[in-house]
C-alpha cells in the first residue's frame, strides 16, 4: 500500500466516531440524491412518454409557413423590389395532391403516417346538440400512429370499416347524450350536410376535453360530409425514434412544403419548464451532499490540528508538502468512496421502495406505480457529485497540512 494511503487510513481509524459521522452524511446525501433525482427524472420521462405517445410525433397540416416568393422578387432578386405585409396563403381546401405526398413520407424509413381530414360538426341526439371535432380516418393507418385503439372501452375503430355510417365517440360525450353503443345520432357538418350515424365504438383517454369533443369516422365519409372529395388536411406521423422528430419534420417540410410540426417544437414551453424543474431538483439534492462535505471538512481539519506533530516529523524525515496534501486528500477520497458505495446501495433500496408505491392517475384503470428511472447516469452523477464534494472538502485541510513547517513545530515543542 502506498505510504500516504496508509497514513490516511490510520488517521481515519484513529478518529472512528467522527469519521463515521462524516461517512453517514455522505451515505445519506448520496442515497437521497439518487432516490429523489431518479423519481424526478422518472416522472419527467413518464410525462414526456405520455406527451410523445398521446400526440403525433409530427403533424403535417395544410398550412404554409412562409409566403411564396413573389414573381416580382424573382425577377429583381437584388432587392430593387420589396413586398411587405405578405401573408402566406392558407390552403383551406386541404393538402394538395396528398396521395403523392403520403407516398413520399411513407418511403422514409422508421416512419408511420396516417392521413386525416379534420373538421367541425354538430351532433344531435334526443334534442341535444354538441359541437365536436370530426376526424375522418383510415382505421388501418390510424392505429399505427395513435393510441386511440388502446383506449377503446367498447366497440373498435375497425368497426368503421364494416359500417361506413359508423362513428366512434368518447365516453364523455356518450354520458352527456346518455347513449350507448349501437345508438344512432345525427351529424351535421358546417356545409349543412347532415347524416344519421351509428355509434360503433366508445373510447376513454382520461383527458376530459378529448373524451367530450373528439369523434372519428371513415375518411371517405368525412370527405363527403365536408365536401372535400380526395382531400385530407392532416398527416399524423409516428416515428420509431421519437427524438428524431425535429430532424424528420424539417426533412418532410422541405420535401413537400406543408407545415410539419414535431412534438418537440409543439411542446417547447413544457420542455423548458422541465429543464428548470431539473435545475431546481439537482440544486436541492446536492445541498445535502454539500452539508455532508462540511462534516468532512470539519473532521479533516480536526485531524490536521491533532496531527501537526506527526506532519512535522514526516516532513523532517523528508516527506514533501505534496505527500502531506495527498494524505489528507486520500482521507477525503476514502470517505467519498465508502460513503458513495453505501449511499448507492441505500439509494437503490429507497428507489425500490418508492417504485412499489402505487399511484392513481385519472383515466387509468390498471395498476400504476411511481415512475423511477433506473438509468446508470443517475448512479454515476450521484457518485461523481459525492466524490467532488469530498475532495473539495478535503482540499483546504490538505493545503493547510502541506504548509506545516517542521521547524516551527519543533521550536514550539522544545
Amino acid at each position: 500500500m502506498r505510504i500516504q494511503l496508509q497514513v490516511a487510513l490510520t488517521h481515519l481509524t484513529g478518529r472512528r466516531r467522527q469519521t463515521l459521522v462524516s461517512l453517514i452524511g455522505v451515505v445519506l446525501g448520496v442515497a437521497f440524491f439518487l432516490a429523489v433525482s431518479s423519481l424526478m427524472r422518472g416522472s419527467e420521462q413518464d410525462f414526456i412518454k405520455r406527451l410523445v405517445d398521446n400526440s403525433p410525433h409530427i403533424t403535417v397540416s395544410d398550412e404554409v409557413r412562409r409566403p411564396r416568393t413573389q414573381p416580382a422578387e424573382q425577377r429583381w432578386t437584388d432587392g430593387a423590389v420589396r413586398i411587405r405585409s405578405l401573408k402566406p396563403q392558407t390552403e383551406t381546401r386541404g393538402i394538395r395532391g396528398y396521395r403523392k405526398k403520403l407516398a413520399l413520407i411513407e418511403a422514409i424509413p422508421g416512419v408511420r403516417v396516417a392521413p386525416v381530414l379534420i373538421g367541425s360538426a354538430v351532433l344531435t341526439f334526443a334534442g341535444r346538440e354538441e359541437g365536436v371535432t370530426l376526424s375522418g380516418i383510415v382505421p388501418k393507418t390510424m392505429k399505427t400512429v395513435s393510441t386511440i385503439q388502446d383506449k377503446m372501452v367498447e366497440g373498435s375503430l375497425d368497426a368503421l370499416d364494416v359500417n361506413p355510417n359508423g362513428i366512434v365517440i368518447g365516453t364523455g360525450l356518450a354520458e352527456k347524450f346518455n347513449l350507448g353503443l349501437g345508438r344512432n345520432l345525427t351529424v351535421v357538418a358546417a356545409s349543412g350536410a347532415s347524416r344519421a350515424m351509428k355509434v360503433v365504438g366508445l373510447f376513454r383517454t382520461g383527458n376530459a376535453s378529448v373524451d367530450e369533443t373528439q369523434t372519428f369516422t371513415l375518411l371517405k365519409r368525412a370527405q363527403v360530409m365536408f365536401e372535400r372529395p380526395n382531400r385530407v388536411n392532416r398527416f399524423l406521423i409516428q416515428l420509431d425514434d421519437a427524438y428524431a422528430a425535429r430532424a424528420v419534420a424539417q426533412r418532410i417540410e422541405a420535401a413537400i412544403g406543408d407545415k410539419s410540426v414535431s412534438w418537440v417544437e409543439a411542446s417547447e414551453d413544457i420542455l423548458s419548464v422541465l429543464v428548470v424543474r431539473n435545475i431546481i431538483m439537482y440544486s436541492v439534492v446536492s445541498a445535502i451532499l454539500i452539508v455532508a462535505s462540511f462534516g468532512i471538512y470539519n473532521t479533516l481539519s480536526t485531524i490536521v490540528l491533532e496531527k501537526t506533530h506527526d506532519i512535522a516529523i514526516l516532513k523532517s524525515m523528508g516527506f514533501h508538502a505534496r505527500d502531506i496534501r495527498l494524505i489528507f486528500l486520500f482521507e477525503g477520497v476514502v470517505i467519498g468512496l465508502i460513503g458513495s458505495l453505501f449511499g448507492l446501495v441505500l439509494g437503490a433500496g429507497l428507489m425500490h421502495a418508492l417504485s412499489q408505491v402505487q399511484i392513481k392517475p385519472p383515466g387509468v384503470s390498471e395498476q400504476v406505480f411511481l415512475p423511477i428511472w433506473w438509468g446508470a447516469q443517475q448512479f454515476a452523477l450521484a457518485t461523481a457529485f459525492a466524490m467532488a464534494s469530498c475532495i473539495l472538502a478535503a482540499y483546504l485541510p490538505a493545503r493547510r497540512a502541506g504548509r506545516v513547517h517542521p521547524v516551527e513545530i519543533l521550536r514550539g515543542a522544545a
Binding site: L314, G318, F319, L410
Partner: protein, 229 residues
Amino acid sequence: MSAVLRAEHLVRILPGEVPVTLVKDVSLAIEHGEFICIMGPSGSGKSSLLYLLGLLDVPTSGRVWLDGEETSGYGEDDLANRRLEKLGFVFQFHFLLAEFSVLDNVTLPIRRLGRLDASDARARGLTLLDRLGVVEQSAKYPHQLSGGQRQRVAIARALANDPLILLADEPTGNLDSASGGTVRQILKDLAHEMGKTVVAVTHDASFAAAADRRIGIVDGRIDADWRAV
C-alpha cells in the same frame, strides 16, 4: 578527510516586529565519521544551528554544503529529498507516530524513498531494530515502550535510509542516566564503528566527554571548538 557538512557565515534571523537573531555568523566544517557535540547555555541557539545544518531551516544568509553539494537556493522539495537520503534526525522527545507500530515507524522513510520493496523494507527495519536491541518490540506501539526504548526506535528510524549524518537534539535529555548512557554508547558506536557522522546537541557532560569534538555555542556564535586528542 573531506568535509561531509560545511557551513559558511550562517546567519538566521527570525523576522518580526523585533527581529530575533538565532544564529550569528557561524562557519563550520564537519568531517566524515566525526562524533560531534554541540553544547551551550539554554537559548544560545544550539537547536537553531542544528536545524540549519540539517536542512530543516533555511539561513537568512550564509551557505551550507552537504556531501560537497551546495544547498543554497534549493526549494523545499529539493531540501526534503536531501534529508530523506542523507540525513537522519533524533529529537529530545521521541516523535514517533503513535498510531504506527514500532516497525512501521522505522520503515516509514524507507517506503517514502521507495528503493526497497515492501519485504526488503521490513527486513531492513528489523535489522536496524535488532542492532539497537529493540527487535522484540517491533510489533508494539510507541506508548507500550519505555523512554529509552523509544529513543532507540527513533535512532533506528533516523538510520532507515542509511544516512551520511545523524543529527540529534538532546537525545538523552529526557532519559534517566542508565538509558541515557545506552543511547550515548549507541551514537558513539555509530560514529566509530559504522562510519556515520553524528552531530548531537547536549547538556549532558558525560555525553560531551565521549565526543571527538565539542563545539560551544554562546549567544548564537561559536565560542569554542575543541577536538579530543
